[in-house]
């Protein structure tokens, strides 16, 4: 077996299954109103709203919705110039944007998916506040597509959520500029078998999307979510993986997290652990505490409440995938600032990490100073056995109880193994808990939007875009540029401008401007975003008409940018005004005259050293080819004199 096969074998044994969910912003105005799909730095005013979970007739509330409601958060929405009544949930949605619908139809056709005959927008309940309405509007447009041997389960069109700005005093603050931007959502089946393959498929989907030319470019316009599961583990959705390169690492880290949870489960089963639901009020233990965190909270009428986690001692705090971190993630989601647990407090029998003396979570506070005595008191109060762990939180009574109940239910889950949940990818490629996996009850029809009929003729009319591989091949053949140049032009999105220019100008020069000259200018920290098609056309035209030589391209463009002037003025300013052949001849003649002896001595071989000398004087003022041919001729003439 070679290395690749060995690897494959390893993941096969783990029962690794990966599915991808790609969200890409489409290049149109918003999906259900005519607001521009642009993010802005400022907002005009704020509005305050609350959301409530809705209940189905069967009495089952969506579990994700309930959990959000437990947080009892209210939301502040920053309304920007790119918002209207639709995003503030004060006006019904308008009809879906046609360009956005067409983009999704095109992609669906590209992956050979079955397109539905009538599109229904649905309301997907999301009450974390990211949608002012409490739901996200989403429509399934196609199913059962394929990319290589990975099945594309669904292709959807949906609206982007509001941007989370901050959390403050029980409010979550969102900005509404992003809300309503159309997104294509592509979900693959869990057909992906290795972390590396996940990256490759994501890359491929990315290139195909860009090939449609109907998607937004740039940071934040594409988001990747992963679904990862292993044998005996569970399906975990990881949201917001930053870039393609980190996909394999995120998967690897999720595998180890799940393996660790399985290990904890096995240990707990050995210990026959059970979770009791009693909450202990142990405020009196801390009446004279030196712990700053607790002291401050007690002054604000907070309480110290604790729970007993039977059999969990030693399992909360060691190893990279500490279970304490799992718990902390849950309470953070519930609006609690932090927790203390026994594995990280001093002198508890099973404690191994007390030296580190750290809070287990995001808030590092090295001097929290809970004493041995206090720990001992807690143990007595809760009647802890040697295998038992405890968690304490200090907060206002109701918040603390809410948090501890959440920890208890998480602890209960750990006896069963890995819980299905939604997690958020962090910059170090680990993940943190976001919310439980949404149930199926969270969608119902958006009655404000009439169904959209998709006619077969319309689908037939959609012309499929040229895929990047094909385009690269064609560029190499048609324009005689290198494979690498062609690839770069396509990858960097210059392909359309390139094809426009090569109708009139030399392909090699056009390609060089895009791939070398512009990056060179950018390196000098000039604002190359101001270089547009019109500006380049002026430059290419002047070059073609011999107004300056191609060696002067960088200088001319630079001058145009810095002084904000036209090409003629730039040529003048740089002193690169092209010389006529006669002028070139006279410059060369002058140099040859000076080096007459040298030429006579070396003959033809004088060319190379002299060319350097000539170019020093003439660079950018005349075409190199012309210079060299004149120089050759003149040397020949001189030698034969």
């Amino acid at each position: 077996m070679n290395k690749e096969e060995l690897k494959l074998n390893k993941y096969e044994k783990l029962g690794l299954k990966i599915g991808l969910e790609i969200h890409q912003q489409l290049d149109s105005s918003k999906l259900f109103c005519e607001c521009p799909s642009k993010l802005v730095d400022e907002y005009d005013y704020e509005i305050v709203r609350g959301l409530r979970p809705t209940q189905s007739e069967l009495g089952d509330v969506d579990r994700a919705a309930v959990e959000e409601a437990q947080k009892k958060l209210r939301f502040k929405y920053q309304v920007t110039e790119n918002n209207c009544l639709v995003e503030t949930d004060e006006e019904p949605p308008h009809e879906p944007n046609k360009n956005a619908v067409n983009a999704v139809l095109m992609f669906s056709k590209m992956v050979n998916a079955k397109i539905v005959d009538e599109i229904y927008f649905m309301r997907k309940i999301v009450i974390d506040g990211s949608n002012t309405s409490g739901f996200q509007r989403t429509a399934l447009i196609a199913v059962d597509g394929k990319i290589d041997d990975v099945k594309i389960q669904t292709v959807c069109l949906e609206e982007d959520a509001a941007r989370k700005i901050s959390e403050e005093n029980g409010f979550v603050v969102y900005r509404l500029d992003r809300l309503g931007i159309p997104l294509i959502e592509i979900a693959t089946a869990p057909d992906i078998k290795t972390p590396e393959q996940a990256k490759e498929v994501a890359e491929k989907i990315g290139t195909m999307l860009r090939a449609t030319k109907k998607v937004k470019r740039g940071i934040g316009t594409i988001r990747q979510d992963l679904n990862v599961s292993i044998k005996d583990g569970a399906r975990v959705e990881i949201k917001g993986v930053q870039d393609l390169k980190s996909i394999p690492d995120v998967v690897e880290k999720e595998i180890s997290r799940q393996l660790r949870l399985i290990e904890i489960k096995n240990k707990l089963n050995e210990r026959k652990a059970k979770i009791s639901h009693e909450i202990f009020d142990i405020t009196m233990i801390f009446e004279k505490t030196e712990c700053k965190i607790i002291k401050t909270m007690l002054e604000k009428n907070g309480k110290v409440l604790g729970i007993k986690l039977n059999g969990l001692s030693g399992l909360l705090g060691d190893g990279e995938n500490r279970f304490g971190k799992e718990l902390a993630g849950r309470v953070k989601a519930a609006g609690l600032k932090g927790l203390f647990h026994s594995d990280e407090l001093p002198n508890f029998p099973a404690s191994k990490t007390h030296k580190s003396m750290q809070l287990v979570n995001w808030e590092v506070c090295p001097n929290y100073g809970i004493t041995e005595n206090e720990v001992e008191e807690i143990r007595k109060n809760m009647k802890l056995d040697v295998n038992d762990a405890f968690v304490i939180v200090v907060e206002k009574d109701n918040i603390a109880r809410n948090g501890l109940n959440i920890i208890l239910s998480r602890a209960e889950e750990c006896i069963k193994g890995v819980p299905e949940e939604v997690r958020r990818a962090l910059p170090d490629n680990t993940t943190e808990y976001m919310r439980p996996m949404p149930g199926a009850a969270r969608m119902y029809p958006e009655t404000d939007i009439p169904p959209v009929r998709v006619k077969k003729e319309e689908i037939d009319k959609i012309k499929l875009p040229e895929l990047f591989d094909e385009k690269i091949k064609r560029f190499v053949e048609a324009y005689k540029i290198s494979f690498e140049s062609a690839k770069q032009l396509v990858a960097q999105g210059y392909d359309e401008m390139f094809e426009g220019f090569v109708k009139k100008y030399e392909p090699k020069i056009v390609s060089r401007v895009f791939l070398n000259i512009i990056p060179e200018i950018e390196k000098e920290e000039k604002d190359v975003s101001r270089i547009d098609e019109k500006m380049l056309d002026e430059v290419f035209n002047a070059l073609k008409n011999g107004r300056f030589a191609k060696e002067g391209l960088t200088a001319v463009l630079c001058s145009m940018l810095t002084s904000n002037i036209g090409v003629e003025e730039a040529i003048k300013n740089t002193g690169l005004g092209g010389l006529s052949e006669k002028e070139v001849e006279s410059v060369i003649e002058k140099i040859l005259e000076e080096k007459k002896e040298f030429v006579k001595e070396k003959g033809k071989n004088a060319f190379a050293p002299l060319m350097g000398l000539v170019m020093k004087k003439l660079r950018g003022k005349a075409d190199g080819k012309i210079i060299s041919s004149i120089l050759k001729r003149k040397i020949k003439e001189m030698v034969s004199e």
Binding site: R49, D89, E91, N112, Y120, C156, Y444, P451, R453
Partner: protein, 438 residues
């Protein structure tokens, strides 16, 4: 092939889980070679499994397992296989205890989007029919108050008629007289102002507040304004107010509700939460954690609430516009027993209509399209001519309130002089003799 025919043919019903088989020409690809392409032309059988939803034309609507609805075109070859018959609905059970010492609220539902809940299987929105169901959508209501609920009718706001007002008035009085501390009337927002005006005139000596409440976002949405409006309305049961009022959002934020007098309230926006405004007077008060009153209001009466539901239904409300023809106007005059005109500015109509008004045997009341402000027909000659012709100035009444009041007044008397007097004098807060500057 029509959807209902096919559904019948295969003995399927909405709500059944079905498999839908259609032959389809799916893959007609262009000549560009896709790497992942399967074939250039292929006839495949599309199979979809899902719950059969109400369908129309030649489209079958399916709810897929993933929650999405999709529409699939059908033809003669389409087949339906019923996989699982729909399950019977399980009723909601929730015990509601009587809370000692807490106010009794009678909830009389008329329909509208408030107090409804959604069937997530079909997406249909149903009105909450019982207190139990209502408790389900706004649990706090039954935690703080003793709520009795009944559905008097279930109609859309725009289908409201004067006979419903009478029924509602009687029911309201009867509930108050049998011990309710407050009446909450969930109502569609479009005609809520008409109903609140009608109840204001018909109900006398109120022993508690009669609160109309609506929602601008249906209550199946997490962002609905229904629950806040309902809870604000319910809090009035603990106050001493005894008037017909409407309680709705005060601003676009979910921060406070406003109490509007029933004869002064008007829907001023087609979709915003804070669409309801008091016109020509300040709102009675504001409700957030507390109730703050901005002006005087009538207190609860001791004794019994009375109803006077005699009204004349043949009254019309006409919106004047440039070019309104005398023929059209004359028809309205001849076919009604009273007329309210929403005139221009201070209370004008084209001079072409003045002769018709002079000859009319019915009361014609003038109000203003400006809504804000009072009619004054002494300023311009047209106004003076209208007054001479017998038009009754409607003071600072809203056109809709003037319309409802005229119906009520005509139910009380047919004598023109009495009608004129009643229409120009304040009865239940619909007219004020002075308007303060805001």
């Amino acid at each position: 092939m029509r959807a209902e025919v096919l559904i019948k043919k295969f003995k399927a019903e909405y709500g059944d889980e079905i498999e839908l088989l259609t032959e389809k020409n799916y893959t007609k690809l262009s000549n560009i070679e896709f790497q992942h392409k399967i074939s250039t032309e292929k006839l495949s059988v599309a199979e979809f499994t899902g719950v059969l939803m109400p369908s129309h034309n030649d489209i079958i609507t399916l709810k897929l397992k993933n929650g999405y609805n999709i529409g699939v075109k059908i033809d003669e070859k389409t087949k339906i296989v019923v996989v699982k018959k729909k399950e019977k609905k399980i009723g909601m059970l929730r015990n509601i205890k009587h809370l000692k010492g807490k106010p009794v609220i009678s909830l009389i539902s008329t329909g509208g989007t408030i107090a409804s809940y959604v069937d997530y299987r079909t997406g249909a929105v149903h009105p909450a029919l019982t207190a139990e169901e209502l408790a389900f959508s706004v649990p706090e209501l039954t935690e703080k108050y003793n709520v009795k609920a009944k559905v008097l009718f279930s109609i859309l706001s725009e289908d409201m008629k004067s006979e419903y007002w009478r029924k509602l008035a009687k029911e309201t009085a009867s509930e108050l007289n049998s011990g309710a501390d407050a009446i909450i009337i969930p109502h569609g927002t479009d005609t809520m102002g008409y109903t609140s005006a009608a109840l204001s005139f018909m109900l006398k000596n109120l022993t508690g507040p009669v609160i109309l409440v609506g929602s601008q976002r249906s209550s199946d949405r997490p962002s609905s304004d229904a629950s806040m409006n309902l809870l604000s309305a319910a809090s009035l049961s603990e106050s001493d107010i005894g008037e017909v009022v409407a309680v709705m959002h005060g601003e676009t934020s979910d921060t406070y509700s406003l109490i509007h007098r029933g004869t002064r309230v008007r829907k001023m926006h087609s979709s915003r939460r804070d669409a309801f405004k008091s016109i020509n007077e300040k709102p009675i008060g504001k409700i957030d954690e507390n109730i703050t009153f901005f002006q005087d209001y009538r207190k609860r009466n001791k004794g019994k609430t009375e109803v006077n539901d005699k009204i004349e239904e043949k009254v019309a409300l006409i919106y004047f516009y440039p070019g309104l023809t005398p023929e059209f106007f004359d028809y309205a005059v001849k076919n009604n027993k009273g007329l309210v005109i929403a005139g221009t500015g201070l209370g004008h109509v084209s001079s072409d209509l003045i002769e018709i008004i002079r000859n009319a045997k019915i009361p014609i009341v003038m109000s203003s399209q400006c809504l804000n402000g009072r009619v004054n027909m002494n300023v311009y000659s047209t106004g003076r001519d209208l007054l001479n012709a017998g038009a009754i100035p409607g003071e600072d009444m809203l056109p809709e309130t003037a319309f409802v009041k005229l119906m009520y007044v005509l139910g009380q008397t047919k004598k023109m002089e009495e009608i004129r007097k009643m229409m120009t004098e304040n009865m239940v807060g619909e007219i004020s003799s002075r308007t303060a500057i805001d």
